[in-house]
Amino acid sequence: MLEVSGLSVAFKAGLALRGAALTLAKGERLGIAGESGSGKTLLGLSLLGMAPEAAHVTGSVQFDGQELVGAPETALRSLRGQRIAMVFQEPLSALNPLRRVGDLIAEPLRLHRGLSRAAALDRAAALLAEVGLPDPTARLRQYPHEMSGGQRQRVTIALALACDPDLLIADEPTTALDVQVAAHILDLLRDLSTRRRMALILISHDLRAIARVTDRLAILYGGDIVEQGPTADVLAAPRHPYTQGLIAARPVLSASRDRRQPLPTIPGNVPALADLPPGCRFSGRCPVELPHCHSTRPTGNPACHREAT
């Protein structure tokens, strides 16, 4: 359904995304994991033709056979919100504070589906029930600020579902939420995807969140997809040195941990866009680096010169 190939996004300072390739089938759940500066948010935005103006996007994004890179704004706009929907990190800024929840959700239904106000509000109540908000009819009359963070995120999800999208892109949907609430929202996203046979892309820095929801996982570092595969396999047996480091550096709950021992780390810091090495982006921080890693870009999956030899 979604086929991304050779997708690159260039800024003045350098390539923020370098030839990304991804495929996504109907109803499939893909996780995109990366740290700040990895290009994960940019990747999500580029799929919708929403990369910032200063960015130069090349490559191909095909959605149901339709090319989205370079597509006219009108074509993209009719896709967005209808067939592809998006959920962001901060639910409060995604909801107009001056409008009631019911009207917020009813608006796209009236606009795109031509429903009457009453029918649209009925549908909105059904959507709120679907995302697990109790007493949905009463909720319709509430304003966003009258709800908790978790409830607001449920409302933005209901809003995204309004036009029955085929693909939902969620960018750090739980980062602003408490641990327990976040777990519920993640479970909701997974269940919705199953029930509606809706494809889901979950973008997150949190491997735990991705493991909870997705079937497949792509790891992004410095604008490169360094490794992708079934989520369980990648997390259980990571092959790229960056993925290995990332998984090892994650604090894990374990009664047997000797707290006198330091935690495993990845040395150094994530380099700025202009300072990324030309070859493997991870070179310079990699514990198993080869001489040509810095200058030659590795290909394959995982994208690592060690793997090729």
Binding site: A249, P251, R259, L263, V270
Partner: protein
């Protein structure tokens, strides 16, 4: 005993909703008692609104408890002179907020020493030493915060906190804003300072796994109260309170 918190309460008044009614009140901390020994790391776990940050602010003396006492080194913190407050230093969550953008790194790290009897040369040497301890170069002293990444800034903030040789470090979500690969670096640094300087810590986080990886003891907070406390190994192996178990399930 380095720190002793005795049945502290703290409530906040919200803005008045009605001219003639008493403003609504949020009880942020409702009767908390804790102790912390020299060189010990006490982890506090809780979600937003659990009162953990209010507790930190009371230990720092930024706020007074409505009821109860905070004892530092056997002295009531409410009557502590300003110089003695340097015994307790703090590291904040947002490394982009905790360094003055218009002050050089060297100046910022040496700032806690300004109100002491140290000479300029001594302060400079101390700042250089502390920067080296957190893994930065003394040559960075002339640079400004915007030249550093989030993780580096947090190291600088830690260097500033340990500049006056405090006995207690209050760390409120010190790694929450950092990338995963940098979090472990900062946690290791804190553990290292705990070992080499005998620095005691009140380590506050919403993330049970993070707290469990560094703390000797853990206190779990919910709605302004401590619902469970004990040695880390014991809490991790057999959490007793339903809320702690729920945190485990989510982690």
């Amino acid at each position: 005993m380095l720190l002793s918190i005795e049945n502290v309460h703290r409530r906040y008044a919200l803005p008045r909703t009605h001219l003639f009614r008493a403003p609504p009140v949020i009880p942020a901390v409702q009767g908390i008692s804790l102790t912390l020994d020299r060189g010990e790391i006490l982890g506090i776990v809780g979600e937003s609104g659990s009162g953990k940050s209010t507790l930190a602010r009371m230990v720092m003396g930024f706020e007074r408890p409505d009821r109860g006492r905070v004892w530092l080194n056997g002295q009531d913190s409410a009557t502590l002179p300003r110089a003695a407050r340097r015994q307790t230093q703090m590291v904040f969550q947002d490394p982009y907020d905790s360094l003055d953008p218009r002050r050089s790194i060297g100046w910022s790290v040496a700032e806690p020493l300004l109100a002491t009897s140290m000479t300029t040369t001594e302060r400079h040497a101390r700042a250089a030493d502390r920067l080296a301890r957190v893994g930065l170069s003394p040559a960075d002293m002339a640079r400004y915060p915007h030249e550093f990444s989030g993780g580096q800034r947090q190291r600088i903030a830690i260097a500033r906190a340990i500049a006056p040789d405090p006995a207690l470090l209050v760390a409120d979500e010190p790694v929450a804003a950092l990338d995963v690969s940098v979090q472990a670096q900062v946690l290791n640094l804190l553990m290292d300072l705990n070992r080499t300087m005998g620095l005691a810590m009140l380590f506050i986080s919403h993330d049970l796994a993070v707290v469990a990886s560094i703390a000797d003891r853990i206190a779990v907070m919910q709605h302004g109260r401590i619902v469970e406390t004990g040695p880390t190994a014991q809490i991790v192996a057999a959490p007793e309170h339903p809320y702690t178990q729920a945190l485990f399930a989510a982690a």
